[in-house]
Symmetry: C2
Subunit: 699 residues, 2 copies
């Protein structure tokens, strides 16, 4: 039986409320009350065997008595009646049910079984299930409120271009409330709770297809169906939606709490970072940040770059915004000469730098203010966004009003430009200037954070265009790989390796060394010896043939005393002494949820002790690999410090990208790859994988 | 002439407004209008030669016609009349004047002179000056508003226990406004503007002496009078005031903007950090953070530690708060057994860990909720603060009201405990529960940040009790110090140095090496040779007498070819080969504003490339030195990684503290000290200053 589309859940034309209560303030009465208040445009059918009417609407004794088959049934009955209600609905061909009741898989094993029984009943007809243990959903445009969200009691939302999806009902309703308070129109809310059927992924997937949604605000503690989630992110990205997604459980205690709360594996947090970044989703760390970025994104303008022009009525605020811009990676670039000239004429009393300190006097010279903002936000000025700091002036009874009028007059001129006003004002004034197209922030710090977030979303978007990455053919499954074999595999995948040969006798070793050139390195080579140094299995810097001959014997002997007979060895690896360079680590891990990831960092203490590494889902483009290289804190060590020349970053980026393609192609075959070290020499001189370990799945 | 106390400026009994306008919305009428609205309890005398009355009050044609000498004169005249007004006031013996006019030192050299003339006139009588280019000050308790702050038009503050001082008028008034909106009572506001007389330091000093002030909220771009500022911080700390101080200009562009705005040197930002930390001031980075921490501090309760107990109605929020707690260094410690037992009985439907997930059901079981909060916040539970997450429930018309009633009933029980409610509610409800003693945060992230900030303030406070640090006698001024002399000085100051002798001949060198024990190190030693390695002036690992003899000759020869004759050398330093250990850097810099600072970090790349160091004002206690050691990101390298034993951190801390005392005692003599490397061996084995450079002031 095919599952019904989520359209039936979120755009229903008829809604039954089973167990509807006459009291609009109690949970079983809430959903009906909200729909009545909002003037739901479809049919509204309370089901209550004990009453003739509920909240003034004709009540039906059972779902079988309804005048038609509802698209949605809201199940507001006590928990022990839920199963029967679901079965009735499924039998009748209801499109979707919303279940608020608790005590299911979130509670215990018995509850898990009860939840499965709900799903089984629904699956018979393809009926969709939202919940249980959720707060429901709404569609503000049609006045459909299949929800017991308490926060709506403070006022219903306006149907803007934002959709909210949250695994947690409580967080979802709070987000919807705070977005409303911030003046953002939330059109859809979906809370998934235990998500026995509809989960965060399916909700995002549906939202991605809605023309009236531009921004998707999400929250999850973990992910159930990985493929559904990832393909939903992909679809949202392709559809040009902005995603502002909070994933909690970064900390150890948070992860433990998530485990105990939802029994869903929180997953490696760095992998989550990599996933969200790959699909262009912005990841906020606090609710305030999430609300603010969603607010800014809902304006629909993404800056092309990170250059910020600032005009301020007070020097102090300008300095503060410079600090915040620096913190968030915005550039307070100097004024272009022609812009400086124009502003000098416009603001004879001002200080003409960036920030432009127009001084408090500008408040009495509103034509000059308008012209200055227009000048600074004109594309010709070269800024990607403009911040105008007005402090408390808009609060002033006289001068605040004329100032706001001036900004409204200016609005059409700067309509397609990103202009953020930093000021405090009464709510009504804020809404007026927002409707005219400005963003408004009380704290300059938040303005910088939001503009930087939009720039990040813009960068994600432009990267998206770089196209699919072709993968190599996967290696066969089964068996172990020696260092020699691992390097051959990686060489085939495009990683540079040093010239080397496998010798099965001292004579072969000398011949190999002669061919490679002295000095050379000898290493024992066997798929069974993972840690060569522990058995003394590496000899460095051998200067001539006799040293190689002697070395061969030494290594064979050491392997034997460690329990590896010569016949068990693949051979002795002969390789050239690599020149000194910077040692890096390239790694692959296969995440149980999200698949292959590629890691990069510097050798020595940096990755292991200082936890300084960059991680991405595989595959990555060379451009993304360059981003990874620049992202680590120890990047200065690669970029030339203390008079040393920069390293060959292009070679490094190519190696990371090659390894990532290999990782993506072999996600089913390998469990990890360790290229440690990958040495990189100075610019133009390349690099090489000096050692490599590939762990292959044991089946 | 003695300067009058600031009491006269901030607690005046009579106020004249010179140039007062009849229009309450225009700047020259604002101050008077606010005082009338607030019912200022003293005499209010408008001065305006053109009117009989101003805003309904009898107006006087000039200050000479006033019925008495006012404590304060607000000068609201046009700029060209200000000098005359100041002279008149000074002649009459007015206590203080407040000057809003601009165009003084912030504008140009001419303005700087005009400002000096204002000050000269005031100094004749000891009259105090606030401004020019400021927004004035207020005392909310007496209804005195010597200010043209526009933000007050939205409502006057209530006189709580918070005082605000800001160099920037616009930022100061916005802070006062946002604090009011956050429900915090601002009793005093002082904005200093150009601060020709009253500056941020003098305002803090005055506020520190006020019994009705518990929290001082400050803002500065730089500091004029260093001694006044530091002694004010000291006094505020001693008086037990909580200081929440923003210093802007961290970033390069911010610093440049600060220079151009106030012409006051912003100063090294890390030194500012060290200063504020030393005197127990919390430094926020955003306005929201500043307002939130001031709000939390105004409650008057500091937690003794960092253990946080969490009770939540929704698992998702609990996870989020765990993440935020981790970010801010709070510990979500497990429940004690007896607490877990009690909560298991109280919450049979809950999940009994920390966070305690009471589930949504608790909302219908308010006696259980009250008992659970009481249990968790009881000192016996071992938590320093409790967070109770209620989500949107307080918004609900029915259940919100009974929930709030339950919290109010519980309030007396938890009155002296730090209990933060995380929820959204209407403003009136928030104010009610705040008045009952709870803190309220809409975002769990902010709750964690605020509780952590209070814990930091508490730690600062307990450290304060550690007493004054005795300083050694300073070294004499003048002259340069060789490595040998520098080490003797540092050895006298308490730093361990390796055994070493100065040899003036090869024979002396051999004798020294024999006494010290082989192998040894030889170094050229002269106050004129700063970079020994550049001339090959160091020989390591000399195994025997003949090598020492030969080495002596080699070094003398190398010094000679670098232009230093043997007679110009102090000698050749003979020292033992130090065992390998971890190389650290101890440094002293004398900041032009704040004096001696001590720096600590690891050698190699860490301090110089990775900018990983800890800095404090000198002197520091050993306890603070331990804090510095733990503060650097590379601390794991000292604490035993990859199976190595931890370093001797006590020796290191003693060395840092000793160096800091030396630095403090010699702030007038030295410009810098570089102990690089200070090698530290494993626990119990000590450490030693292997090289040292002291730069002495050249006068």
């Amino acid at each position: 039986m095919d599952l019904k589309s989520l359209d039936v859940l979120l755009k229903p034309r008829s809604v039954a409320v089973i167990g509807a209560s006459d009291n609009p303030h109690r949970l079983p009465g809430m959903s009906l009350a909200y729909m009545k208040l909002a003037g739901f445009e479809g049919d509204l059918w309370p089901v209550n065997p004990k009453r003739e009417t509920v909240q003034g609407l004709k009540a039906y004794p059972s779902v079988d008595d309804l005048p038609g088959t509802p698209d949605v049934a809201i199940i507001a009955t006590p928990a022990h009646l839920v199963q029967q209600a679901v079965e009735d609905c499924s039998r009748l061909g209801v499109g979707a049910v919303v279940i608020f009741a608790v005590g299911y898989s979130e509670a215990n094993e018995e509850g898990r079984k009860a939840e499965q029984a709900l799903l089984d009943a629904a699956r018979k007809s393809g009926m969709r299930v939202l919940g249980p243990n959720c707060l429901g959903c709404f569609n503000a445009a049609t006045g459909y409120y299949g929800t017991i969200s308490i926060s709506l009691a403070s006022g219903l939302p306006t149907a803007g271009n934002v959709a909210v999806v949250s695994q947690s009902g409580a967080y979802g309703e709070q987000l919807a409330y705070l977005l409303k308070e911030r003046g953002v129109g939330v059109r859809y809310l979906v809370t998934t709770g235990n998500a026995c059927d509809v989960d965060v992924g399916s909700a995002i997937d549906w939202m991605a297809a809605q023309d009236d949604v531009d921004v998707i605000v999400g929250y999850a503690e973990g992910v159930g169906d990985r493929d559904r989630f990832v393909s939903a992110l992909e679809r949202a990205q392709a559809a040009g939606k902005q995603l502002v997604f909070m994933k909690v459980g970064q900390s150890e205690t948070g992860m433990a709490a998530a485990m105990s709360h939802t029994a869903s594996l929180a997953g490696d947090d760095k992998v989550w970072d990599a996933v969200l970044r790959k699909y262009g989703a912005y990841r906020p760390v606090s609710t305030e940040e999430q609300v603010d970025i969603a607010y800014a994104a809902s304006r629909g303008l993404l800056p092309a770059g990170r250059k910020l022009g600032i005009l301020t009525v007070s020097g102090g605020f300008g300095i503060q915004l410079c600090d915040a811009a620096d913190q968030y990676g915005l550039e307070v670039a100097p004024l272009r000469d022609e812009v400086a000239r124009e502003l000098t004429e416009l603001l004879p009393f001002g200080s003409i730098n960036n920030p432009v300190d127009a001084s408090g006097q500008i408040v009495g010279e509103l034509e000059r203010l308008k012209a200055s903002i227009a000048c600074l936000s004109d594309p010709a000025a070269g800024y990607d966004a403009t911040a105008v700091i007005l402090g408390s002036v808009p609060l002033g009874p006289g001068m605040g009003t004329v100032l706001v009028d001036a900004l409204l007059e200016l609005a059409p001129t700067v309509r397609d430009r990103l202009v953020a006003l930093c000021c405090v004002a009464d709510r009504e004034t804020v809404l007026r200037v927002e409707q005219a197209g400005y963003l408004v922030f009380a704290d300059v710090h938040d303005a910088a954070r939001a503009i930087a977030a939009l720039a990040t979303l813009s960068e994600y978007k432009s990267r998206q265009a770089s196209g699919a990455i072709a993968l190599p053919s996967p290696i066969p499954r089964g068996g172990k790989l020696s260092e020699f074999d691992a390097k051959r595999v990686l060489e085939a995948a495009g990683l540079p390796v040093p010239p080397e040969r496998l010798a099965r006798s001292a004579d072969e070793a000398v011949a190999a060394a002669d061919a490679i050139g002295y000095p050379v390195v000898l290493k024992v080579c066997s798929p069974d010896i993972l840690h060569k140094t522990e058995i003394g299995g590496i000899l460095l810097n051998l200067p001539d043939a006799s040293a190689v001959r002697e070395g061969y014997a030494t290594l064979v002997e050491r392997a034997a005393s460690a329990g590896f007979a010569e016949s068990a060895l693949q051979g002795i690896l002969v390789t050239g002494m690599a020149p000194r360079g910077t040692e890096t680590i390239l790694g692959v891990q296969v995440d149980p949820t999200f698949g292959s990831t590629v890691l990069f960092g510097l050798g020595g203490i940096h990755v292991e002790v200082m936890k300084d590494s960059a991680l991405r889902l595989a595959p990555v483009s060379e451009e993304e690999a360059h981003e990874m290289i620049r992202e680590i804190k120890s990047f200065p060590l690669l970029n030339g410090v203390r008079g040393s020349r920069p390293s060959d970053l292009d070679t490094l980026a190519r190696a990371i990208a090659s390894l990532s393609r290999f990782a993506a192609a072999n996600a089913d075959t390998i469990t990890s790859v360790d290229v440690n070290p990958f040495v990189v020499w100075e610019e133009g001189k390349g690099g090489a994988a000096l050692d490599a370990l590939i762990s292959v799945r044991e089946d």
